[in-house]
């Protein structure tokens, strides 16, 4: 009989996880038979499956919960999966993680649709002309071995997204075993320039931001509530910030050319002429009037009149911002992707960071991060420059074998790279893939991966909210498809081809991982407990928390070399700036095939299932464009056509198209919806870091004469409430927050 103790055991520890998985597997099969769920009260197709022979640990109707890690973005939130009858049903936040404290964003929750996705690759596929032919894993491994034979290390390259933890270690070992140093870590959307600016000004790439301690947050295009670095964590800080320190509600000011979700939540949103963020920052320093020495010298020409002329921000607003920053301290100034996406991105970011130094925020709301004690597990951070390098090499025909994992460069490379063609020059291309996305389609061999809910792993987030944490990824149910494999398992099999001796002790990646963790038991805080207990506790917690040493931040201000260009003249042929928007639903487009994501309205425009060209109503009026007009957006590189959405939260000199849609592969929910702005992005680079300057593309807009109804949640009333008190608002001087519960 099942008593309450065994229920506790389920929720807690002592039983073998692999045994449990077998049970889950059984349950999964049973669920498949019963068709639970996909029956309605009408169709009468329910089949009742008997559970009289249910194994221990499966109590029909009682959910069990397992902790793991969200892999939908790099923030590294911890998840708790709800499992019933062997199926994972729902993901919730793990309250024990300092990053997300039990919460989860929409994208994170949609991971179950990644796992159950009908378009997942299920078999190893070998290219045969235009088709993929299913082959066995033995054959696939043998083929890789064969293709690598006689190939020199420098002729082998691997391109991946961000990677950390034991997968990173194993991946490194494999590349070593091949004698290759060509691991390109590429993320289409990453704060690489900001990291460089941070290093210059704070001495660290990614400090710890304390929005919750700040009284004023001035953000230059950092969409920390939507997409930036660790949004769920920052959203929680934001909530505390709004409640206020000492009862004084935090003030958020956002300066950017296209409104982000964070901008939409600001008390004051400033429409900045694209690329002039740094000038505005220097203007504010000037208006503060507290700078001395080099800094004072630097900003002395940035008076209100000039700054206002160049940035489009009214002088009165510059005064107000300076006044409030002076009055309420500490504050926090953030620099985000909007400021870094220009040729002078680093200068922009540096000017903005300088503001923090001037305001004395460093050390108060900007704290030193903890350092990860196992550097080999620390995250390899993606850069767009990596793709540029890889592309140049591919174009030069340097590589005979190319591996690809967890990134989709064919989709996210600017069209002018001709990445697809260059990739073809590599003799043999292997993609580790979940879907047949644009890149996998170009591969010669596609190896189907387990989903994050079937696989083992460890992850170390780049942004650590509190202490160092190593996040555990573990299967929440048995694999759905017999012929997918974990990324770690594949790596292990491949590395064994080279170094059989070294790895012969490990049957599979699980064994490797367990032994790797247990080897460092003491360092991981498990001194004193026996192996099994420690291992089970680790899996049960889903997180290993360690105390890491906090470094010191550099307080010295070095403004040498800081020089901002004067804003560009308007180009007659391409008068507008294209802002490829990163939205909280879609990010870089790797999850577009999850229908919850497609149908989750964009928070600002409420558009679903499609791309749009966002344009200021004033500019649209000039061009005679109304909502729903299909326009052609043309850059030097190419053109795309999409529907117009009129939105006042954008600078009139800019138009914006979201990233993430416009797939021509990947699956039924992604393919054919919208357009891909990478197709018209000019190859312009940040001058100091070589990162792609994503906001530097200039475009012009022409009407095509077609018009559609924009598919969105908002009705014809738009953002208006028509005098009904629906979403009400008070100003801080009317309201007394101190009485609140």
């Amino acid at each position: 009989m099942i008593d309450s103790d065994s229920v506790k055991n389920l929720a807690g520890h002592p039983f073998d996880r692999r045994d449990f998985l077998k049970v889950l597997g059984w349950g999964g099969a049973a669920a498949a038979l019963s068709g639970c769920g996909n029956t309605s009260i009408e169709d009468g197709k329910e089949t009742v499956v008997s559970y009289v022979e249910a194994k221990d640990y499966v109590i029909p109707g009682v959910a069990v919960y397992f902790n793991s890690t969200c892999a939908q973005c790099d923030a590294g939130c911890s998840i708790t999966g709800k499992i019933r009858e062997g199926r994972v049903l729902k993901l919730e936040g793990n309250p024990e993680s300092p990053i997300n404290k039990g919460r989860l964003c929409g994208l994170g929750q949609a991971a179950v649709q990644h796992h159950y996705n009908p378009d997942r690759v299920r078999e190893p596929l070998l290219r045969n002309g235009d088709k993929g032919e299913a082959i066995s894993w033995e054959k696939a491994y043998a083929l890789i071995n064969e293709k690598l034979a006689g190939v020199k290390g420098e002729e082998i390259a691997l391109v991946s997204g961000d990677v950390s933890g034991h997968q990173k270690v194993l991946l490194g070992n494999y590349m070593d075993s091949l004698g290759s140093k060509n691991h390109f870590v590429y993320e289409a959307v990453s704060p690489a320039v900001v990291r460089a600016a941070n290093l210059k000004f704070y001495g660290v790439e990614m400090p710890r931001y304390r929005i919750d301690k700040a009284k004023v947050v001035l953000s230059f295009g950092a969409d920390f509530l939507g997409t930036w670095v660790s949004p769920v964590h920052f959203a929680q800080q934001y909530a505390a910030f709004r409640k206020g320190v000492d009862g004084q509600r935090g003030v958020l000011i956002q300066a950017e050319s296209k409104m982000t979700l964070t901008g939409a939540n600001a008390d004051r949103w400033l429409a900045v002429r694209p690329g002039t963020e740094g000038i505005l920052a220097l203007g504010i320093i000037n208006a503060l009037g507290v700078a001395t020495g080099d800094v004072a010298e630097l900003v002395k020409d940035y008076d209100k009149v000039r700054v206002s002329r160049e940035t489009g921000v009214e002088p009165s607003n510059i005064d107000k911002i300076a006044a409030i920053l002076k009055l309420r301290s500490p504050s926090l100034v953030l620099v985000g992707s909007a400021a870094e996406g220009y040729q002078h991105g680093l200068q922009n970011a540096a000017a903005i960071n300088l503001l923090n130094q001037v305001l004395g925020n460093v050390g108060k709301t900007i704290e030193a991060p903890v350092s990860v004690p196992f550097p080999q597990m620390a995250p390899a951070k993606g850069k767009t420059a990596a793709l540029k390098d890889l592309n140049d090499d591919l174009a030069a025909g340097k590589y005979k074998v190319l591996f690809n994992v967890a990134t989709n460069p064919v989709f996210t490379a600017p069209a002018s790279y001709k990445f697809r063609d260059n990739m073809a020059k590599a003799g043999f291309k292997v993609a580790f893939a979940h879907y047949l996305d644009e890149t996998a389609l170009q591969a010669d061999l596609v190896l189907p991966l387990d989903s994050e809910m079937e696989d083992w792993g460890t992850h170390v987030p780049e942004y650590l909210a509190d202490t160092v944490q190593i996040n555990i990824q573990q299967p929440l149910m048995e694999r759905l498809h017999a012929n997918t494999r974990g990324f770690g398992d594949i790596l292990l099999a491949l590395v064994k081809q080279r170094r059989a001796e070294e790895y012969k002790a490990f049957d599979d990646y699980y064994g490797y991982l367990r032994s790797a963790v247990l080897q460092n038991k003491a360092a991981l805080g498990g001194a004193g407990s026996d192996d099994d207990t420690f291992w089970n506790d680790t899996l049960s917690n889903g997180i290993v928390k360690l105390s890491g040493a906090s470094g010191a931040l550099s307080l010295k201000v070095d403004v040498s070399g800081l020089k901002l260009p004067t804003p560009k003249e308007i180009d007659e042929q391409y008068p507008m700036n294209l802002i490829p928007a990163v939205t909280s639903n879609l990010r870089d487009g790797r999850h577009t095939n999850q229908p919850w994501i497609q149908e989750s309205p964009d928070p600002l425009t409420t558009i679903v299932w499609d791309s749009w060209v966002e344009m200021h109503p004033k500019m649209a009026l000039q061009l005679g464009i109304v909502e729903g007009d299909i326009v052609k957006v043309t850059s030097k590189t190419g053109s795309v056509s999409a529907q117009v959405y009129l939105f006042p939260g954008i600078h009139p000199d800019a138009v914006s198209i979201p990233i993430g849609r416009g797939h021509d592969a990947m699956g039924r929910y992604a393919k054919g919806y919208g357009v891909n702005p990478f197709e018209i992005m000019d190859a312009v680079f940040e001058s100091a870091t070589g990162e792609l300057a994503m906001h530097e593309t200039r475009v012009n807009i022409t009407k095509t004469g077609q018009r559609v109804i924009v598919v969105k949640d908002e009705g014809p009333a738009g953002g208006r409430q028509m005098g009904r008190k629906i979403a009400a608002r008070m100003s801080t001087d009317q309201v007394d927050l101190s009485k609140e519960v």
């Binding site: 008390d267 949640d713 009400a728 309201v735 007394d736």
Partner: protein
């Protein structure tokens, strides 16, 4: 099956408004949503899809207004002729307000939508004949009709995707009305557990799916008649009374400095969801 029986039954169904002879006891589920905390991120809406088996209808049907999101995030801004929405937006999560005197209930010809003893507006899918009168009479327009048979519609729940469905929640077929239930399956489970242990559900013991996911904790949910609950304390601090169509605090000279309000309160449907006004800094 006498007429007396008939009238008794009917009266029992109809009489759970907050009136003196039938107080909510021991539960009255209610919410408070802080618009100053809500950032409009949609996490709650996705959580609702996951928890309540909501179909993704796809582009074409969305275009025809046939979306099924029980929770929708509305966003408003001042369109007072300024060039930019430079004072920020107001995001508003809107779902069934679980009205105490729900206009949707009285009009349903078959009594498929009713008030429960614990203060919910319930929807009996089996009983619904799809007349849509309830939706016609809902001032908030938060009722969603199954215009198609989504379970059998292509690509709504194709093979494997259906494994995600929550077995605690019915999958609705064509022709049935549905809406936010305050995650009634979670409430019932908690109520039954508590009953078995001879107590009432404690504060924090049960969360709605939207509340649980919300990164900013904008949504609080609980038992309004439990003085220990946060919701109770919030409603009280904001001086919002469930059974008023105009709050006393608002009648004071110069209005109120409290943020709590209910939407379209003047229509006397007595919503169970209190919103807290968005705040905007006056210094910038």
């Amino acid at each position: 099956m006498s007429v007396t029986n008939l009238l008794d039954n009917w009266a029992a169904v109809r009489h759970f408004h907050p009136i003196d002879d039938k107080p909510h006891d021991p539960y009255k589920w209610a919410m408070a949503i802080d618009l100053d905390a809500c950032i409009g991120c949609n996490a709650c809406a996705v959580a609702c899809y996951a928890e309540n088996n909501l179909p993704v209808v796809g582009r074409e049907k969305f275009k025809h207004g046939q979306v099924m999101h029980w929770m929708r995030i509305e966003r408003y801004w001042d369109e007072d002729g300024r060039d930019y929405p430079d004072q920020g937006f107001q995001f508003l999560p809107m779902m069934c307000q679980q009205c105490e005197a729900a206009p949707c209930e009285t009009v349903c010809p078959v009594g498929a939508t009713n008030h429960t003893q614990d203060g919910l507006n319930s929807q009996i899918y089996n009983r619904c004949i799809g007349s849509r009168y309830c939706s016609a009479n809902c001032p908030f327009k938060v009722r969603y009709f199954n215009w198609y048979d989504y379970p059998t519609t292509e690509n709504v729940w194709p093979a494997e995707m259906n494994y995600q469905l929550n077995p605690d929640v019915t999958v609705r077929g064509k022709g049935v009305m549905e809406k936010c239930t305050f995650c009634v399956q979670r409430l019932r489970a908690a109520e039954v557990t508590a009953k078995g242990e001879g107590r009432i559900v404690r504060e924090g013991e049960v969360q709605t799916a939207c509340q649980q996911s919300c990164p900013t904790g904008a949504i609080s949910f609980g038992n309004l008649v439990d003085p220990e609950s946060r919701v109770h304390k919030q409603w009280q601090a904001q001086q919002v009374d469930l059974d008023k169509d105009m709050q006393e605090k608002n009648q004071k000279e110069g209005g109120s400095d409290l943020r709590g309000y209910r939407i379209l309160e003047e229509l006397r449907s007595y919503p169970s969801v209190m919103y807290l006004e968005r705040v905007r800094e006056s210094a910038v």
